[in-house]
């Protein structure tokens, strides 16, 4: 993956906003649960704090890990394969043959919309892999590229197998 591409820099802000939003939801849920638990089963209040405290810690950690995720998340699309790579301490490489790609889905939540980004889901017959966010223009071009390459690859396979 020498020519692997990084995600656009604005994805960092999108991730930050998304994870801050998650923290807010966790805090809100913690508040509501604490109120309900303290009213009906006050002896278990500590358990509520423990569960949501751990959730809060986890969410905070994901914020701290944004630069790490950004630095090591890469993708590359060639004529035959889609390559995805993530992590440094725990490294993960994925190779998807382009002729296994069934379709490409573009998702845009409100946060991604603010930053004019789109998530690209590459769907195979087994599962799907998501590129978290690239610019709208890139996403459209990418989805078209993958679909065209996948179609071409299949057609080539069909012709080559019938001619033999």
């Amino acid at each position: 993956m020498n020519n692997a591409q990084q995600l656009p820099i604005s994805i960092k802000k999108a991730w930050l906003l998304d994870r801050c939003f998650n923290i807010l939801i966790t805090l809100l849920l913690m508040l509501i649960s604490s109120l309900l638990v303290s009213k009906f089963i006050p002896t278990y209040l500590w358990l509520t704090w423990l569960v949501f405290g751990l959730g809060f810690l986890y969410e905070s950690l994901t914020i701290l890990l944004i630069p790490y995720h950004y630095k090591f998340w890469r993708y590359q699309i060639t004529a035959n394969y889609v390559y995805l790579q993530s992590g440094f301490f725990f490294r993960k490489h994925t190779t998807i043959p382009i002729n296994r790609v069934q379709n490409v889905n573009l998702n845009q939540g409100p946060i991604l919309r603010i930053f004019k980004l789109q998530a690209v889901a590459i769907v195979t017959a087994a599962t799907d892999f998501t590129i978290d966010g690239i610019t709208e223009v890139e996403a459209n071009a990418l989805s078209q590229q993958i679909i065209t390459t996948a179609r071409k690859a299949r057609e080539e396979n069909v012709y080559s197998s019938t001619s033999t």
């Binding site: 440094f88 490489h93 994925t94 069934q102 379709n103 490409v104 939540g109 087994a126 069909v158």
Partner: protein, 482 residues
């Protein structure tokens, strides 16, 4: 051109949602807020308006476009989603029309894509002409396509010209061995054991009423034996009723499996949908050299007995009969017993298996209750499990790279798994490893194979890097020439 669902759908969905949540709508506000009927009515009306507004928004944001080669479906109010389905990839189109929608010529389309794990795309209440247009576009795309002749596997031994017939029925003796060597008896033992206090009423009173300690011990043993026999009997009955007269038939490329005593279940599948073969051997069956043959399929079998993830092709078969079975039933798969490989990764597996100690602090609770012997026994059991797990994982790990097929042997929770996977059915593969493994001679590899509505991920840990590279090379070579 953007095509939307018919506005009638807003009312249909609103009414349907209100009816399905009617009880919730009526009871909950008064229960939560203890208010009078008028306020309750206002709350209900507000919720109904909210539901209606939601479906209005959905009507506005959900639409589709029929392009030359694909259908593009836009959905989502807050989180927007664009799904592009090439007409070639559409597996099936299901059309439904309620009687009251006939005058309006409206239908609901459910489009099944190639990807079974994703939900079908539903186009609710669209005009019939658009449904016909989609259907026509799909047919046109399929007719334009040069049809690929169905080649099951390149190493086919039997020629298609010779009609292939095979018939096999499992014997009661084989079923008995299957039941006795199955580990499924343990959950039943637990269930029957939970009635321990009531079991004494089924046994002779003399066993319990005698003050002698020897006889009361006899009573306990009798009770335990009763539990064991009763649970075994129940399990054997369950096995027999499920697999009674288990029959495999093969006619050309279609395999038919018939099974069941009370409910006779028949499953048909085409061999071209077989993604991989899995041979499974539990710890107990290792001693008897017995295997279960499972099939990973690309289609849903709707088999009501497949309680496991895989479709069972053969509940039980001796290791020595496997080669003949494959030659008779599945000659398309190149089966050869994997040779023993001298792996030297026992210590790595042992270190990895130490994760099974993670749950041990929870035993503190048992220790606090004074159950010291039980706690020590469970810890010892866990340690023995870890040692055996690491030993078997190291011993069983083996890979044979054939020209068209990957042959893998691995162990998961003491159960040996052998996979025969044609490269053409590996959907994707990858490597996943920590920084500590990077400079070593070993690497981890995973690969995905479609299995009915889901997929199976096969993890291979601590393979030699040269083997990983060879698998990649062979996989890439095969995918490019498919």
């Amino acid at each position: 051109m953007y095509i939307r669902q018919h506005p009638l759908n807003i009312f249909k969905q609103t009414i349907s949602t209100i009816f399905s949540t009617a009880l919730f709508l009526i009871v909950l506000p008064s229960f939560l807020f203890k208010i009078n009927w008028l306020s309750n009515l206002v709350i209900i009306a507000s919720i109904c308006i909210l539901i209606f507004s939601f479906y209005c928004l959905q009507y506005y944001f959900e639409y589709f476009i029929i392009e030359d080669e694909q259908l593009v479906f836009y959905s989502g109010i807050i989180s927007k989603k664009i799904t592009k389905i090439p007409f070639k990839n559409i597996q099936a189109i299901q059309k439904s029309q309620a009687w009251y929608l006939k005058p309006f010529q409206l239908v609901t389309l459910s489009i099944e894509n190639n990807t079974q794990h994703a939900n079908n795309v539903i186009l609710p209440l669209i005009k019939q002409k658009y449904a016909l247009q989609i259907d026509a576009a799909r047919h046109q795309e399929l007719s334009n396509q040069v049809l690929k002749p169905i080649v099951l596997y390149p190493n086919t031994i039997h020629h298609d010209s010779t009609p292939f017939r095979f018939h096999y029925q499992i014997s009661n003796n084989e079923l008995l061995i299957y039941g006795l060597t199955s580990l499924g008896i343990f959950p039943l033992l637990g269930v029957v054991g939970s009635f321990y206090n009531h079991i004494s009423s089924f046994l002779p009173n003399q066993l319990f009423k005698t003050p002698s300690a020897k006889l009361s011990l006899l009573g306990i043993i009798a009770t335990l034996l009763f539990i064991l026999f009763f649970a075994s009997g129940l399990f054997l009955f369950k096995t027999f009723s499920r697999y009674y007269h288990f029959t495999i038939k093969r006619q050309k490329h279609v395999i038919t499996i018939e099974q069941g005593l009370f409910n006779r279940n028949i499953t048909h599948f085409n061999l071209k949908n077989v993604q991989a073969i899995n041979l499974e051997q539990s710890l107990l069956r290792r001693f008897f050299h017995l295997y279960t043959i499972n099939i990973l399929l690309a289609t849903n079998t709707n088999d009501d007995v497949n309680n496991a993830d895989n479709l069972v092709l053969m509940p039980i078969i001796s290791e020595y009969k496997l080669a003949k079975f494959f030659a008779d039933v599945l000659p398309e798969f190149d089966y050869q017993a994997l040779k023993h490989q001298k792996n030297q990764v026992y210590w790595r597996y042992l270190t990895l298996s130490l994760w099974f100690l993670v749950w041990l602090p929870s035993l503190l609770l048992l220790w606090q209750f004074g159950l010291h012997k039980l706690t020590i026994f469970i810890i010892l059991l866990d340690v023995i499990f870890i040692l055996i797990h690491a030993y078997l994982s190291n011993k069983d790990l083996a890979v044979a790279i054939k020209p068209q097929q990957l042959h893998i042997r691995t162990t998961k929770l003491l159960t040996k798994h052998i996979y025969l996977i044609p490269y053409r059915h590996i959907q994707e593969l990858g490597q996943s490893e920590s920084i500590f493994l990077l400079n070593s001679l070993y690497g981890n590899l995973w690969l995905d194979v479609r299995n009915q509505a889901n997929f199976t991920r096969i993890n291979l840990r601590y393979l030699q890097r040269s083997t990983v590279a060879k698998i990649y090379q062979q996989f890439k070579a095969t995918t490019q020439t498919e």
